[in-house]
Amino acid sequence: MEENTFKVTIDGIETRVAPGTTILQAARQIGPEVAPPAMCYYKPLEKSGGKCRACLVKVAQGSERDPRPMPKLLASCITQVQDGMVVENYTNEEVVETRKGIVEFLLLNHPLDCPVCDQAGECSLQDFAFKHGTEAQRYEEERRTFEREDIGPHIQLHMNRCILCYRCVHTADQITDGRCHGVMYRGDHAEISTYISKAVDNDFSGNMIDVCPVGALTDKTFRFKNRVWFSKPVDAHRDCDKCHGKVHLWYKGEEVIRVTGRKNQWGEVDEFICNSCRFEHKETKDWVIEGPAKMPRHSVLSANKYRADLVKKPAYALNYAEQNFKKIDDSRPYDKTLSEIKESEDYQALMEKNKSYKLLNK
């Protein structure tokens, strides 16, 4: 087993992974504290990744055999690991600085209409920019603008907000039979579009909404209904002949205002849901409710939702208690008589300590 795995060190943490694993996957195995951010890479979609450059990392040592560092930063989502590779992610100044630049690039044409956008609150670009970007932007030129466009009866395309991650195109390629949605033109002019504005009427086309990291593809039936952080997500399932039927229902009061696929820790929907689950079953009676959905604590989605397993005592308080208070040994019997107590070591030590108090020494 040992021979078949590669040793990788990411941010000083060693792990062993199977050959052919990408750096990003290896980092995700270690945990979210070293995993590089990803805007275009989407594990369930084949060939995704390598476009947004958000996941750039520094390879400080190529492999055991050839320990030279890689000259440039590498996109970790499409670079496979080699045995003995040493990767620097958050510990490398260059990577952190570059990511600030990447945020700026991604935001070049982004309209920053978050107050209006329905994706706000669950937007990868918001999270990415907040965590890795700078506060200010240097871009002064006109942003490119497009008219809002309807892709089919349920999906709306805001090309202004698109960051050209190609996730939706890969979804269309992979899940829908016969592609009718892709990227037109090149470079700065590139835009996603349905071929000759043909509506996407595949049963699984709604997943483009979930897959889109920004608010470019949004649910038309959910448009301006509610801010995502005011709706209550609930795990639910139903018997569906097309998909597995496991979803999040988003409630506003008694009303189901939208249905989405379940996202994992990395914000990826592992199992796609069909359009009938997503758009046609919006009543509580259609579903079997499993319970409130677990939302990541750092996300605004968990605002005002006080789940006992999500509300942690702050680390500061716990550390303080650990340093300043002794653990009490509660195993002593407590029903001693006063005379016994007076003989005990604890009591005598206490009296010794309090000798200077006059009241006690009367």
Binding site: D113, V116, R223
Partner: protein, 188 residues
């Protein structure tokens, strides 16, 4: 032992004749009282007169309009999520053709309500607003209410009146300090 510099030795010498008669003491005391009749008063005749509360006083909420009279609020919900008392609620709606002169963005607040029983006037909504729409007025209090149905303020009470626009006296710390410096000191 001397505990403070301000302690005074009690004078225990016997009173003189003048002191025994108490008359000069009474005259002196009445003189002090009389002096205060003519000096500047520390109090004002509230509520007819009102004292300036400062440029950053947090009073009545207002939903500002922009220069062209369009509502700035786009119902993004950031004020409501920032609100520690959960006093704010809103319903968004999409602007239709012909309403461009009423609302600035393509989305607007169809209803915007603040529960004044819940509100603690902390000003976090003002701080959170990305559209510079919600402010707490420095010149107006939320009036006292007598029943619970007067407590929830809707858009009719909150949106700015174009005939009577709200202008804050100071926006920056420097401006504010200048204003405070101009204020006459109050002698309490």
């Amino acid at each position: 032992m001397q505990l403070t510099d301000r302690s005074k030795k009690t004078d225990k010498t016997p009173l003189t004749l003048a002191e025994k008669s108490y008359l000069p003491g009474i005259a002196k005391g009445l003189g002090i009282t009389l002096k205060h009749f003519f000096s500047k008063k520390a109090t004002i005749r509230y509520p007819e007169q009102k004292r300036y509360l400062g440029p950053i006083f947090r009073g009545h909420h207002i939903l500002k309009r922009d220069e062209e009279g369009r509502e700035r609020c786009t119902a993004c919900g950031l004020c409501a999520v920032a609100c520690p008392a959960e006093a704010i609620s809103m319903v968004a709606a999409e602007r239709v053709k012909g309403e461009e002169s009423l609302y600035r963005e393509e989305k607007y607040a169809a209803s915007y309500e603040i529960n004044m029983l819940r509100c603690i006037f902390c000003g976090l909504c003002e701080e959170a607003c990305p559209k510079e729409a919600v402010y707490l007025r420095h010149d107006k209090f939320v009036p006292v209410f007598t029943s619970r149905d007067q407590v929830i303020y809707g858009k009719d009470q909150l949106v700015e009146d174009m005939n009577e626009r709200y202008e804050r006296d100071a926006w920056t710390k420097e401006e504010m300090q200048k204003l405070w410096a101009q204020q006459k000191p109050v002698n309490y």
